[in-house]
């Protein structure tokens, strides 16, 4: 290299601006991170700290033992007299979970209540979604708004409204008595719990069904009618099969939150209404047994939530492929 070219390189080199924080960028650069990590890092770190780590903490506490102290559980890692680190895992919580029939009964009862409520919500929600999808453009938006409107008002107060409706000497009871019918106890029964779940989660059933049904090609229905099928036959062999993705999506949106429901069984159900969310709550707040509450949560995740998450993912993959 001659001297003159070296001078030219020197002269054309840009002036480096002074950046005191430049070392951070250099560090990130060596770690393979560029400017876009300014966007990625905040949500990623936030979710790591406040979503993923808490789940790991639950797993840790579920292997601990309940003690009367602050905080009310024993540490897993302890230092022995010789200075060794000891790891103590208590499997007692999970063994207790299998031994005490209360927990199994609560799981089964939650599944039963969630399943029945989902089926009822599907039966009630389908005609409404169908009606909205077939309504004229003008009416469609108004009806959709009417479905969504209760969702924006408080969930707690919508459950509360049913207490006034169902209780003895409540609105329905007074109506029945005015008609000369016998009194029936409705509040604080499983029936009230089904009603409460169907009522609060109905919009979640209607909306996916509606988005599915509104896309249904009218030409298919006309073709079926032209070929001589009665309306009911057309519904069974054309509309219903085509709306299965909407039915599955809506059912999952009702079924998943219904399983872990705490508020509805507590306010509308009786003392015998057993649901796993309620068991977890009582274990934590009434018994102050944090490790037991943690193992109920883990069991709930493993048995119920994770399979449903996979199902939902598979479902959305099918919808996207179409």
């Amino acid at each position: 290299m001659t001297e003159s070219t070296a001078d030219m390189v020197q002269a054309s080199a840009p002036r480096i601006p002074w950046r005191p924080w430049g070392f951070i960028r250099d560090l990130m650069g060596t770690a393979g991170m560029r400017g876009r990590w300014v966007v990625i890092a905040p949500p990623l770190l936030w979710l790591l700290v406040f979503f993923l780590i808490p789940l790991l903490v639950i797993i840790k506490i579920s292997f601990s033992e309940s003690v009367v102290s602050q905080p009310p559980y024993l540490p897993l890692l302890t230092l022995s007299d010789q200075g060794d680190v000891q790891l103590t895992l208590h499997l007692s919580n999970f063994m207790y979970l299998g031994q005490d029939s209360l927990y199994l009964a609560a799981f089964l009862s939650s599944l039963k209540i969630a399943l029945i409520s989902t089926v009822v919500a599907l039966i009630v929600g389908y005609p409404i979604a169908y009606f909205i999808a077939r309504a004229s453009d003008r009416w469609r938006n108004i009806l959709l708004m009417l479905v969504i409107l209760p969702f924006w008002s408080s969930f707690l107060l919508r459950v509360y409204a049913w207490i006034g409706f169902l209780k003895n000497n409540g609105v329905i009871d007074n109506l029945l008595q005015a008609l000369g019918l016998p009194q029936i106890t409705m509040l604080y029964t499983d029936f009230a719990v089904y009603l409460g779940i169907v009522y609060t989660y109905l919009p979640f059933m209607i909306l996916p069904l509606y988005t599915n049904l509104v896309k249904l090609d009218e030409a298919l229905l006309e073709a079926s009618a032209d070929l001589g099928a009665r309306p009911f036959r057309t519904f069974l062999s054309v509309t219903l099969p085509l709306s299965i993705p909407g039915m599955v999506a809506g059912s999952l949106l009702v079924f998943i939150p219904a399983i872990g429901e705490y508020v509805i069984p507590t306010l509308l159900g009786g003392p015998s209404t057993l649901m796993i969310g309620r068991v977890l709550w009582d274990e934590f707040f009434a018994n102050r047994d944090w490790p037991m509450a943690a193992s109920v949560a883990i069991a709930m995740l493993v048995v119920v939530v994770v399979p449903l998450m996979f199902l939902q993912r598979a479902q959305s993959a099918v919808v996207e492929r179409r």
Binding site: R36, W37, V39, I40, P42, P43, L44, V49, F50, F51, P54, L55, V57, I58, I61, P71, V124, P127, I128, Y130, F131, I132, N141, M145, L146, I148, L149, P150, W152, S153, S154, L156, L157, R158, Y160, A161, I163, G164, G170, V171, L202, E218, E222, P231, I256, P257, G260, Y262, V263, L267, G277, L280, W281, F284, A293, A294, A297, V305, L308, M309
Partner: protein
């Protein structure tokens, strides 16, 4: 196509099912009798008692503060997350980020609440922060599950957006930050507003998660209402419910009118 009366009848019954409890709730809030469901004449007495109840008013104010802060935090985090998931082709941890942000949508509230509480207790032991539980821990918890909803709303808007606009700005020499603030942000603004409102409502409505992570002097409105409700029905809750339903209905009607007016203005 010929239509039978079956579907309209069932749909009408469905709408009655949705609205009858709410309407009766509002009607009985004007009942002068203390027995909530027996009509004793018109009265606004319960509204007077409601606005004199300092516990309810204080809890309401606290809930509004928590909802506004957590919705704002969730909006920032959720928007960043949606941009990262839709606009960046590949980066380390993309699958993890996508899974973590959608998981709170299906996670039962009791598990979210319990896991966050255990984290806060553990953190306090380890590094002394957060010192005790209260408003701050509720805001963190709410922002975490609300950002999932913001991400879903913003993500769907971003993937519908014509990417050539952003590319054009980039070709004209705008930096990525400039492109975002001058082009992307104004276009996705409606999605940001609805994401914020959704988060605000979800935070205002949450009982279970707040109960786990709240401290002794941070009782939110749902927590106060819930403890009253466990004792049975009382007319002042009816009055409170009517106030909330009135505000919500007003907000939705205004939003709908604005939406109906906009296309009309664009056409003329």
């Amino acid at each position: 196509m010929k239509r039978g009366p079956f579907i309209p009848i069932v749909a009408t019954l469905g709408f009655i099912f949705l609205y009858a409890p709410i309407i009766s709730l509002v009607v009985f809030s004007f009942n002068s009798s203390k027995l909530v469901t027996v009509w004793g004449g018109f009265s606004t007495r319960w509204y007077g008692e409601l606005f004199a109840n300092e516990q309810v008013l204080g809890a309401g104010l606290l809930s509004l503060q928590i909802a506004a802060s957590s919705a704002t935090l969730a909006l920032i985090l959720g928007t960043l997350c949606a941009v990262a998931l839709t606009r960046f082709r590949r980066f380390r941890g993309k699958t993890l980020l996508g899974a973590m942000v959608s998981a709170p949508l299906v996670m039962p509230d009791v598990i979210t609440g319990l896991s966050l509480l255990l984290l806060f207790v553990g953190l306090q032991e380890l590094i002394g922060w957060p010192a005790g539980r209260g408003t701050l821990t509720i805001i963190i918890a709410h922002a975490t599950f609300c950002m999932a909803y913001v991400t879903v709303v913003v993500q769907s808007r971003l993937s519908d957006l014509d990417i050539s606009l952003e590319e054009a700005a980039q070709d004209l020499g705008a930096t990525p930050a400039r492109v975002f603030f001058d082009i992307t942000l104004p276009i996705i603004a409606p999605a940001l507003i609805s994401g914020w409102l959704l988060s605000f409502t979800l935070s205002l409505d949450d009982l279970v998660i707040a109960s786990f992570v709240a401290g002794p002097d941070s009782n939110t409105l749902p927590m106060v209402i819930f403890s009253k409700m466990k004792l049975g029905v009382s007319p002042d809750i009816n009055a409170l419910a009517s106030v909330i339903i009135g505000i919500v209905a007003l907000g939705v009607v205004i939003a709908t009118l604005l939406q109906l007016r906009r296309p009309a203005a664009a056409r003329s």
